[in-house]
Amino acid sequence: MSFEETRIKTLWDIPKEEHFVGGHSLCAGCTASTIVRHLLKVAGRNTIVVNATGCVEVSTTSFPYTAWRVPWLHVAFENAGAVASGVESAIKAMKAKGMIPFEKEINVIALAGDGGSFDIGFQALSGLMERGHKVMFVIYDNEAYMNTGIQRSGATPFGAWTTTTPVTRRIRGEWRTKKDMFDIAIAHGLDYVATANPAYPVDMDVKFQKGLNTDGPSLVHVIMPCTTGWRFEPRYGITIAKLATETAVWINMEYDRGNFSVTVPVRKRKHVREYLKLQGRYSHLSDLEIELIQQQIDRKVEEINRRAGKEVIGPLEA
């Protein structure tokens, strides 16, 4: 397909056209807009976006305004996977009947927050993946329900404060660990699954390209720092995103037709403290708790290195 010819290798290869434009009401410093802007640059104008309820949806389509220059549809919180399945099936049927020109390529993208994919939207996402629709599902993961005011989700990491895992006498933030969507998606038999980070736009954009070029469902799970819910100053969004990878809290990896790889190797890891200390949602953590989180990461890194067959994520900086 057409994307192969324009493989993104540097920032200069990222298409100039904007299909996600200003005039929306996302918080200042919200990194969701960075992700969506890049997503649409890569996908181009022949794209239909199905958006689950959440921050992106409510902040970008306040009637009579819209920030979308591609056809866009929102139905509800939990059904982006199902709606996108319908969109894709309709295009197929209508092409077969000559109602849409056969050669017309239309990307179908489902876009959802962690709630609209990990939790309430999980069933519809699972159905979409299992049935094999040619849809790219993009999760922007701000690790809580931000639209309703920072409640925990299945993506909230251990130790994070949210309004439903408040720091109180008996609760000290989220006490469970994040659900693993990467392997859940692979277990559905997908050809292409990736995790991405807006602090590494070229890596992220290549993953969007590959996802769109997959002949079937694909899933790209993107970490998304949220100034309001993570409690940091708006200017630190990308800094924090970068630290997530540098500390290996977030690993940029890819599963491409059976091949696993880490696309952003880290030679020497920073201590997780560097990542946590910039965010108000972790400000209650004791040194002991931070060490506990560090140990969780160490274990994960070991596992990833074993899976990659070499040391792609290095040891902690001295």
Binding site: V75, M94, A96
Partner: protein, 402 residues
């Protein structure tokens, strides 16, 4: 003209479920998504066979729930496809959220419902609790009384839903088991109805990359109300289009149903109103009680939303009493039958006959012609003694005196 019509006709022995599947094929639907639930299941099974046999060229989406079934056909309809889904009971209840979104988005989705009771306790059998729970969801609701009517109504439903003056989803409902699983002779029209009566035309706003639009936005208090008002106006205003679709159908194919129907009402003093398959036995009961000297008539309500106020009023206005049979309960309300309530509130400023509400057949409690005769007798007695009650009569409940 007649010669052409003759050529098109073909008689088949079909259950209402199979008749609906046949209508979906003849409507040349593009995308079908449905989830199995008794007694609807054989509709989609048959559609899958028709697609498999190459008789219908469509995509079938094997969704993982009814919520996703309706969501998927919304997505398909938003791109411009002609779509269909089917369900019943818990499945319809699970769709509740999405039913409102379908009508709010003004998408011409057509759905069949093989009506069934709601849990708890579980009953797979017939009553109308499922659809009555959805009466305020902004859909056009048509009750079919025969397999033939169900077939014809599905085809009419596309004509109505896709009418640019309407653009509302349509639900065609019929009695689970009593109709879904009983076989009747059905005259099918063949696929060219989709060229002749319901030609494919995208009359609604669709998602097209060449003309991008944003669909399903958020609104502020400055706009939401106007959307809902225009929806109310559209549903109210759809009635003449429903009537016209039926009349045009009759002209072309020789069958029409109106929005209400009646039997031996001309000189009737009392009448009983019923929906769906009950109307058929009610007509037999009319003949029976007339032999005993009771001037009785039967009324059928076919279109329930929009409510055919004037058409029904012209039928009932001269009666001395009207009985209304509901097959669901509006809990905590007196009377407890939703249709009876609708009729009473519709004509509260007019000279209308007293209404006696009957609840019957919940969970498919057996109703024979004798039972309809008894209902006429109760109504006759109450009318004669001026003792029509505000309370519903729960006909056929064990241990409750009438």
């Amino acid at each position: 003209m007649t010669a052409v019509i003759e050529r098109r006709k073909e008689m088949k022995a079909l259950s209402t479920n199979k008749a609906v599947a046949e209508a979906v094929k003849d409507s040349d639907v593009d995308v079908v998504a449905a989830y199995p639930i008794t007694p609807q299941t054989t509709v989609v099974e048959r559609i899958a066979e028709l697609i498999g046999e190459g008789q219908l060229e469509a995509e079938i989406i094997h969704v993982e729930s009814e919520h996703s079934a309706l969501s998927a056909v919304i997505g398909a309809s938003a791109v411009g496809a002609r779509v269909f889904t089917a369900t019943a009971s818990q499945g319809l209840a699970l769709m509740h959220e999405v039913l409102h979104i379908t009508s709010g988005l003004r998408l011409p989705v057509v759905m069949s419902v093989a009506m069934r009771s709601l849990s708890a306790p579980i009953s797979i059998f017939n009553d109308h609790s499922d659809v009555m729970n959805q009466r305020d969801s902004g859909w056009i609701m048509i009750f079919a009384s025969t397999a033939q009517e169900a077939y014809d109504s599905i085809i009419q439903a596309y004509r109505i839903a896709e009418n640019p003056e309407v653009l509302l989803p349509v639900m065609v409902t019929y009695d689970g088991y009593l109709m879904s699983h009983t076989i009747e002779p059905v005259e099918v029209l063949g696929k060219y109805v989709s060229e002749e009566y319901i030609p494919k035309k995208q009359t609604w706003n669709v998602l097209d990359p060449d003309k991008p639009i944003t669909m399903g936005t958020i609104t502020s208090p400055d706009y939401y109300y106007e959307f809902k008002y225009s929806q109310a106006v559209a549903l109210e205003g759809s009635l003449p289009h429903i009537i016209k679709a039926d009349e045009d159908f009759r002209k072309l194919y020789g069958r029409g149903y109106g929005v209400v129907d009646s039997y031996r009402l001309e000189d009737a003093e009392i009448a009983v109103l019923a929906t769906s398959s009950y109307y058929i036995n009610l007509k037999y009961a009319v003949d029976e009680v007339r032999k005993r000297g009771i001037k009785a008539g039967a009324i059928k309500l076919r279109v329930y939303r929009p409510f055919p106020r004037e058409q029904l009023y012209s039928m009932i206005k001269g009666l001395s009493a009207l009985g209304v049979i509901d097959r669901s309960v509006s809990f905590g309300m007196t009377p407890s039958g939703p249709i009876a309530l609708d009729i009473m509130s519709s004509y509260r400023y007019r000279d209308a006959p007293p209404v006696q509400s009957f609840i019957a057949g919940l969970g498919q409690r057996r109703m024979l012609i004798e039972d309809f005769v008894k209902i006429f007798e109760i109504l006759e007695k109450r009318a004669a003694t001026n003792s029509i009650s505000e309370k519903s009569i729960f006909y056929g409940v064990k241990g409750v005196e009438l």
